[in-house]
Symmetry: C2
Subunit: 550 residues, 2 copies
């Protein structure tokens, strides 16, 4: 290695020609690494990602150079360097004990298929640079449409490959999917009318003046994803017009409250543009009452969007599909294949019930996206984009609906098992029950739990708050320490449980989608948290004091 470091690459036409024509030799550093990765991905990641966390400011030292280096580097030298500076300090998202986020393990076959996808380097914006990838993407969207809406065969025969229609749009992720759906909702509401050429042409200011409304609003649960605020900003609607609606004790939106909010907005001459149902809230994994929301959308004559970015895959389980009942009444649905569908990062989708829905955002250009063409780019927010649909297609075929069903049933079962572990453990408090495969909890020593319960019963809210503040600190430090130790990872967020009169509390959050997460791992995660907590004697003593009988 030190010998190779002394070599110096020089930029010449010949050496450049080689990088485009001569593949990595089988004995090269990069090839060997690639082989190790192909033979045992989990082993490769476990061996090459260092367990003990290096502080970010230390890592940054390796990424301080700000000039593009003049001279080229040998591939092997670059690779060796990156193994030390980048790969070693990346995150082992596929680890069965990494249960804090929605990214999980990948099936092996996606690795060679991804390489094929990159090598083909198709651009899905148009037929000319993607050819068969275009019908393939349309098929995937059709299959997802059928999963949600289950229309008749004739429906798919007629629309799936129709030039002027689309059953959905692929995009980089759920954020762009949500933006696309609400962009369409806005444009359909402020459609051309008489002298007004529509918001697309004339803009939002002219649109509101023409229709005589003082503002537009979007109603969604207070647990809605943060991308919705971003969407309201981007679309010119304004974040204050995303109206957060209270949730019940189970984190499901209160439809009565939403109906009242809509009525108040109407009084203020604010038009409700869309209501959103969340099918799998990011923080607690709960599903809004979608049928009731569909009823309300019909009453308000507005767009009904369902954000099922994370929860949508559950539709493939016959056992749990009913949890999303009513989703088939949505106008648009967001689903991320890179979450519970085990596809690599970068595979978002928005599905449209009505194949004409995307008409309101259609655009054309002379050199591509000509009128009447089947170019996908004429109905998407993004322009050039890769053939990720191929990986979703592969997963749908190779895993199959039944395979997904087993995976999902297992995940949801595992979440229920973990919830029971937490409930049985004297030193933990379950904060939100798993509806899908996500739950929240925190470490609360038995003595503190009793004192807290007593304070709640006696409605001593200031005392409850004091205890919760200390517990917040404890939860945060447990989560950080566990992450830094590198053996396992849970995430954390802040919630307002009904039991504490909506006081904000910090909680641990787990998502149980990795098929390789075993019951033993779950037990170990809890045990490690107990062990960490017991080292925080300063906080435990403070808690102890606070919990003395007054």
């Amino acid at each position: 290695m030190s010998a190779s470091k002394s070599r110096k690459a020089t930029a010449s036409e010949e050496s450049l020609w080689r990088i485009f024509t001569v593949p990595e030799a089988p004995e090269s550093t990069l090839s060997k690494i690639e082989q190790a990765l192909s033979e045992d991905l989990e082993g490769f990641l476990s061996q090459n990602i260092v367990a003990l966390e290096k502080p970010l400011h230390e890592i940054e030292k390796d990424f301080r150079a700000f000039e593009i280096p003049d001279s080229p580097k040998f591939v092997s030298d670059y690779t060796e360097e990156m193994m030390q500076t980048l790969i070693a300090h990346s995150v082992h998202t596929a680890a069965p004990s990494f249960i804090g986020h929605m990214t999980s393990a990948l099936p092996y076959f996606v690795l060679p298929l991804s390489k094929m996808m990159v090598g083909l380097n198709q651009n899905l914006v148009k037929i000319e640079t993607s050819k068969a990838f275009t019908p393939l993407e349309r098929q995937v969207l059709g299959m997802m449409h059928h999963l949600i809406f289950a229309e008749q065969p004739s429906f798919y025969q007629r629309w799936m490959h129709s030039a002027d229609h689309s059953l959905g749009a692929f995009c980089s992720g759920g954020t762009v999917a949500n933006i696309s759906a609400l962009w369409i909702a806005r444009n359909r509401l402020l459609k051309p009318d008489g002298e007004f050429s529509g918001v697309t042409q004339d803009g939002l200011f002219a649109g509101l003046r023409h229709y005589g409304w003082d503002d537009l609003a979007i109603l969604v649960s207070e647990r809605g994803h943060y991308s919705l605020g971003k969407t309201a900003d981007l679309l010119g609607i304004g974040r204050k017009n995303i109206i957060p609606i209270a949730t019940d004790a189970n984190n499901r939106v209160d439809v009565t409250a939403m109906r009242q909010a809509a009525a108040q907005l109407a009084e203020r001459n604010v038009r409700v543009m869309a209501i959103i149902g969340v099918a799998g809230t990011t923080e607690t994994g709960n599903v809004d009452p979608l049928n009731e929301l569909a009823d309300l959308a019909a009453e308000l004559q507005c767009h009904f969007h369902v954000d099922a970015a994370w929860g949508g895959a559950s539709l493939m389980s016959r056992k749990y599909r009913h949890l999303l009942a009513g989703i088939e009444r949505a106008d648009s649905v967001t689903i991320d294949a890179h979450k519970q569908m085990y596809v690599p990062m970068g595979a978002g989708m928005v599905i449209f019930k009505d194949p004409e829905l995307a008409r309101s955002i259609v655009h054309h250009a002379e050199y591509i996206l000509r009128r009447g063409s089947k170019d996908l780019g004429s109905q998407t927010l993004e322009g050039s984009r890769p053939g990720m649909a191929m990986l979703v297609h592969a997963c749908l075929q190779i895993i199959g609906r039944e395979g997904y069903e087993i995976l999902i049933d297992n995940s949801l079962g595992k979440a229920r098992y973990f919830a029971s572990l937490i409930k049985q453990h004297p030193d933990f408090e379950l904060i939100s029950e798993p509806e899908l495969c996500l739950l929240t909890y925190r470490y609360v020593p038995l003595k503190v739990r009793r004192a807290l319960a007593e304070a709640v019963e006696q409605q001593q809210w200031p005392r409850v708050e004091k205890i919760n503040k200390l517990l917040d600190e404890l939860t945060q430090t447990i989560q950080k320490s566990q992450r830094e130790q590198g053996k396992s990872f849970v995430s954390r967020t802040r919630l307002q449980p009904a039991v504490y009169q909506r006081q904000s509390v910090t909680v641990l959050r787990v998502v149980l989608a990795n098929p390789l997460t075993s019951e033993q791992i779950l037990k170990d995660v809890l045990n490690e948290q107990v062990t960490i907590a017991e080292t925080k004697s300063h906080l435990l003593n403070q808690l102890d004091k606070l919990c003395q009988p007054i």
Copy 2:
């Protein structure tokens, strides 16, 4: 193969466990294909993509099923099927004779690196799911910033890794980059002021009322990319407020006309929000006079964005960098690494001169993107997204600035060579000279060229129009036939050349970025076009008749 077809996969926990734990065996179909691809990408693509074009409606027959299959499929069966239905009918974008679009060949090392990237499955939205990938991405943005703005070392030491700042944003492509830049421009203009909480919070309607403007406008060359219209729609500004400004005979925006347009807008109480310079128009490859535009932006006190999605890489050439002079005065610049930087599809970037620029779109969320964190997701339009920055990083290091310089100088030299071939050929007309590595031309038999020149000289515009109409048909049919024959590919678009009094004509368009495109290939492309043209006797005869002396 037929034996394998008779096998039937069954969904069971064990078989699912295997796809997450047992890699493809070295002798499996997918492994063999992957190996072939690794050993000779160009050979693999040439052998497996069928040359003769299959009509789209035929291809669609293989993608008609609309139900997610219930039963799983063996990986090998799926792979074999896809080789026939998908890969065979994809587009050989890396072929040296595929010179019609901006997608070109890839360096070999990006294939194994892409596989590594997918295997690592990092999510760049936040540190917790990307760790060292976050400083790496910030470094790439810093390097691109330095390429454009060349600030002092202290600038980069201070801002490159600063939590509350960003030198740019990675995104899926140039469209999202342009949207991000103009989103920021709008939000900075309609900033909080007194009772008004800013467009972010209060929306566009309130913003325009508060500031007392009747509309916002964006000024850009008539050759601006179609994504800008999409941006105006999305941001609520309206497509009619993207004001297309005339270009000179070299397709560069007429800054005097732009200044006049701005004055007229001011009279109508419309505020210019941004002006855009194009550094490499998509259709002709020309660069607007960026310094003059920077002066105008200063006069108008508006945002100056440069869309260098395609042309930006030329900054790495000392010989041609001057063509983009003035870009260093932009507020924001779009560059796509998947165009002239030889990175696979999906690597767009927008670079901000001022590290505080993105503040106007900053957003936070409880469970991620906490205040003060270095999470990249708090300043990007997209949420979850993959670690594509790694591939740009690799190319910058392994190719180096000098390597890119050679590649770019070669591409631009090749375009000049091709232009000279066209000019020397009796039967072709060069429509736009190459400024970067893009040019347009069309097939016009010598006799027709003479008649056309004569008609122009005598200002017989109806006659010119008649001839051009027939030539349009000929150009279109040549382009289609050549594509269908599958040996080579040029694209086509419509332009309004000054010489024909801005009549619209259809032209052939080539982009010469593939390092493997030889002079011989360019000669062959022209020869093939002549051969095709000579078979279109119906059109040639009509042209002949029209060109008889009157």
